[in-house]
């Protein structure tokens, strides 16, 4: 809606900082995870349908596109869950001061990367053992 009123400073005049980046990533990963539920539905429907359908979904998951999606999905899920817990703490009134917002922010970044790495170590260890 066009308006003649002055607008408050927005993203383009702000220096990028951790808190706003994590806020944007939280939204983006949320949308990505919602889109990723298609893979979850496909897997469950295939498992209900029979071996042939299940093999098709498994084959897609092992393809480079499927692997790329699963890598992204793993990190998006790890990040959204860790940052979601950070949000729940805020909702409970904890961690609003700036030093703590940065500390929990960097903790979320580190934890999400660590969890994703652990998951894929488990996946490749199993695939290697097979």
């Amino acid at each position: 809606m066009p308006t003649a009123r002055p607008l408050s400073p927005h993203l383009q005049v702000y220096r990028w900082q951790l808190t706003m980046v994590l806020s944007i990533i939280h939204r983006a990963t949320g949308v990505a995870l919602a889109a990723g539920t298609v893979l979850l539905i496909a897997l469950l429907l295939a498992l209900a349908a029979g071996p042939d359908a299940y093999q098709t979904v498994r084959a897609f998951c092992s393809s480079w596109l499927g692997m790329l999606m699963l890598f992204g999905w793993t990190w998006a899920l790890s990040f959204h869950m860790c940052n979601g817990i950070r949000h729940l703490a805020w909702d409970a009134g904890w961690g609003f001061d700036i030093p703590r917002a940065y500390l929990t922010g960097w903790t979320v970044v580190a934890a999400s990367l660590l969890i994703s790495a652990l998951i894929w170590v488990c996946v490749f260890a199993q695939a290697g053992a097979a």
Binding site: V31, A34, L44, L47, M81, D91, C122
Partner: protein, 128 residues
């Protein structure tokens, strides 16, 4: 608080917000988020158990009553939480009214269909 105001805080909160539903959206989003933390952690372990499993083994894992119940809870909370989250994104960024309504309906239909399909698939695996 103004002592002559007979409205309760709930009455004042109702009808506010972009979706005109007051704090209900906020609260349900938090409840589903809280539920999804343990649900998701367990589903990650389930997914890891499925990596090496062939069809029969994978089917047997999800066939277990506990797994089927937990997975159903995960799927319902996931699609509910996804709908609530996508709703806010659309409210924030889509400013043309008909496009907004269309997008909101599309998201609701997708999440409802996704939840129904997933639950029916789990039921079929659990009973099959």
């Amino acid at each position: 608080m103004n002592t002559t105001d007979l409205q309760t805080p709930l009455k004042r909160a109702r009808g506010l917000g972009s979706a005109k539903d007051g704090t209900h959206h906020f609260i349900v989003q938090r409840i589903t988020a809280l539920a999804l933390v343990p649900l998701t952690i367990w589903v990650i372990f389930l997914a890891l158990a499925l990596v090496r499993a062939d069809y029969a083994h994978a089917h047997a894992i999800v066939h277990q009553p506990f797994a089927a119940i937990w997975l159903t809870a995960f799927v319902l909370a996931t699609f509910w939480h996804a709908q609530l989250g996508l709703q806010v994104v659309i409210e924030d960024y889509v400013h043309s009214r008909w496009l907004e309504v269309t997008a909101q309906l599309a998201v609701k239909f997708f999440c409802a269909a996704g939840a129904l399909a997933s639950v029916l698939a789990i039921v079929r695996i659990a009973l099959g």
